[in-house]
């Protein structure tokens, strides 16, 4: 009897017993960043995977259960999770992680947002008032987010402050070196014209100097129609592009359609950690992104 009780109580509290902080990351890139900064001081749960469209996630019972015991929720923000996170947080009955509290962290607040719409209208598709939320495609954005996240970890778990500072300093140094290496490697991509399936890459474009000439979705979030694809095809005859980009979670068909007819390369990007076999951590994510883009030039 005693043993059974022990077993059940260990089941109940296993999550919290081994680690100081329970972190609920909305997207895998923030789970990976939290891992870099907290190491074994946090138990990290990634609510979504790189093969899931982050706009279309359901408030599944498992997410509510995981949010229940979270000490910190780390999300992109900028309304990316508007369709599911509010329900998850409300239903979790966990006041520590409600927006506005120390347990709620939005990465988008710490980076300069691109494509903030001048006109907020659903007629323009799935636009976000604060700007394009796909900030994780520019590695430079991870620096301010990491600094802010480390500060938040210190506030929640001051006992390990020295460790978080040390890990932040390590990450910062290694990440800067990695960015410099990626930039050198990606030099041939500067000024290259691209087509994107969803407007998911403005930060990547800004970083590497890629030039987006068209998007396959007629409006953000709308499925590409044949009519619109034909228009894009006609436009590409005037202004040719070298490749068409889509994220790993997206339907491959529209990119394939346009690539076949305009004779350009299709490049599937991992988009987040776990989006390809090589993108198993943050470094792998950008290694693989650059390699795939370079392969698209050939």
């Amino acid at each position: 009897m005693k043993r059974t009780l022990l077993f059940f109580s260990s089941l109940l509290f296993s999550f919290s017993a081994h680690a100081a902080l329970n972190v609920f990351a909305c997207e895998p890139e923030w789970a990976a960043l939290a891992q870099e900064l907290a190491g074994d001081k946090a138990a990290i749960y990634a609510a979504t995977g790189a093969l899931q469209d982050p706009h279309h996630v359901e408030a599944r019972p498992s997410l509510i259960a995981r949010a229940r015991r979270a000490d910190l929720v780390v999300c992109t923000g900028a309304e990316l999770e508007a369709a599911w996170l509010p329900v998850v947080l409300r239903e979790s009955g966990n006041h520590k992680v409600l927006p506005g509290g120390d347990g709620y962290f939005e990465a988008a607040q710490f980076v300069a947002m691109l494509e903030a719409p001048a006109r907020l209208d659903r007629g323009e598709g799935d636009v976000h008032a604060m700007g394009n939320p796909h900030i994780q495609t520019d590695p430079r954005n991870f620096l301010p987010v990491a600094a802010a996240l480390a500060r938040r970890l210190i506030r929640l778990d001051p006992g390990n402050a020295a460790l978080y500072r040390q890990r932040l300093a390590d990450f910062d140094r290694k990440w800067r070196a990695a960015i410099a290496a990626w930039e050198t490697r990606a030099a041939p991509l500067k000024g290259v014209s691209i087509v994107v399936q969803h407007k998911a890459f403005p930060y990547l474009e800004a970083w590497l100097g890629l030039k987006q000439v068209a998007a396959l979705e007629p409006k953000p979030g709308m499925e590409p129609s044949v009519t619109h694809l034909s228009q894009v095809l006609a436009a590409l005859q005037q202004r040719p592009a070298r490749m068409v980009l889509h994220a790993a979670y997206q339907n491959r068909k529209p990119s394939g359609w346009i690539a076949e007819r305009s004779h350009i390369a299709v490049v599937e990007l991992p988009f987040s950690v776990g989006g390809s076999s090589k993108a198993q951590n943050l470094y792998g994510l950008f290694d693989d992104t650059i390699e795939r883009l370079l392969a698209g030039l050939k």
Partner: protein, 459 residues
Amino acid sequence: MFKRTSLSVAIAALLSHSFNASAASDADLQAIREQIQQLKQSYEQRISQLEQRLWAAESSAQQTGTVAARAQPAGVAPASPAGGDNAFNPAIALILGGTYGSVRQDPAIPATGFAMNPNMGHEQGFNLGESELGISANIDAHYRGTATLALDPAGGVSVENAYVQTSALGNGLNLKFGRYFSGLGYLNEQHAHAWDFVDPPLVYATLWENQLAEDGLQVKWLAPTDTFIELGAELGRGRGFPGSDRAKNGAGSGVLFAHAGDDIGIEHSWRLGASLHRTRAADRVSDAVPDLPGTVGGVSNSFSGDSQTAGLDFVWKYAPNGNVRNNYAKLQGEYFRRKETGALTYDIAGANIADTFSVMQSGWYLQGVYQFMPQWRTGLRYDRLDPGAAQVGALNAGNVIADYAFQPARTSLMLDYSASEFSRLRLQLSRDNSRQNLSDNQLFVQYIMSLGAHSAHSY
């Protein structure tokens, strides 16, 4: 802070000035107070904005240095919320809906054996469905308020939901009070615009008058486990069917429910539920009830007694790679069984004979919805009801039909298209065998559009 000091000096100066002016009337004083208040508010806003900017600048400059500095295009400051009277406006969402219905049989005829239950029927021809106006916002740090007003096409507004939810209890506790959809079953909490079919399952239409909305309070507790385990209890007025509105102290109905759910891998997720509902009906009158003597147009009966309902529900969802954008499948089913025991008065306008009455009604549905390509879904639903065999007291044994020996059933097929997540067009065909010897082919076309705030969806 320098700004704060100068602000207080300014306020002090203003105050002393106004006090010295002995001729100032009360109205003037009031106006000055208001001005000071406004001044103070606007200064506080600007100070907090400045603090935010300073903090953001510190974090990016000090911690990130050169590379990040290149990442920040000039002139971008963190978004600051707009001020003014409308700064605290709640989220407003409007649902527009309408249907075209074509049925062959008179929709006023109830399902066989369920003449003493509500008959929700169907609208024929073109008709505006209920438009729904939802307003919600945090009230303060402790409460969140939600109101859903249904705008009836014939005019008038009814309160579908109007409740307050706590947000600060923690420990997995959620308290809700006001008028809300009861947490029993799976479909009961979903608003009509989130249904996968034009109409609710027969078991919801007959046993819950489409949906059970309670005036009362609900408490839910979520267990601190990785598996989702939720327990809930409700005490309510018992105003809707199967209860009857009452004027008395205390609670008129009670609900208990439990939910469990989890994921299996990244592609599957599920939820199971069980619920119990208890209420008391007092003089619940039903008209046009068929009887054994075969009275033309039926008779009016009245029931008073206890009503107990138990239910089981499940939902299972599957999406390749867990990505619901492209394809997904959903299978759900629910079963309810109700036992009513009390006294039935037969033909209250005529014979008026009262005796004991008890019956066990039940019903279930099973439905599958499949999104076979982005934007397009199809679904199939099978419905079944069992009116049960009633135990009728001796005085009414020759009056009240005890056993109908017929189980109503219906099969529905639907196809819907969503140009975006804010619009949906639907076609539904139903083969209705809910009324004995009156099988019906039904066709519905429906639109559901949502405007305004992007309300998050529940599972």
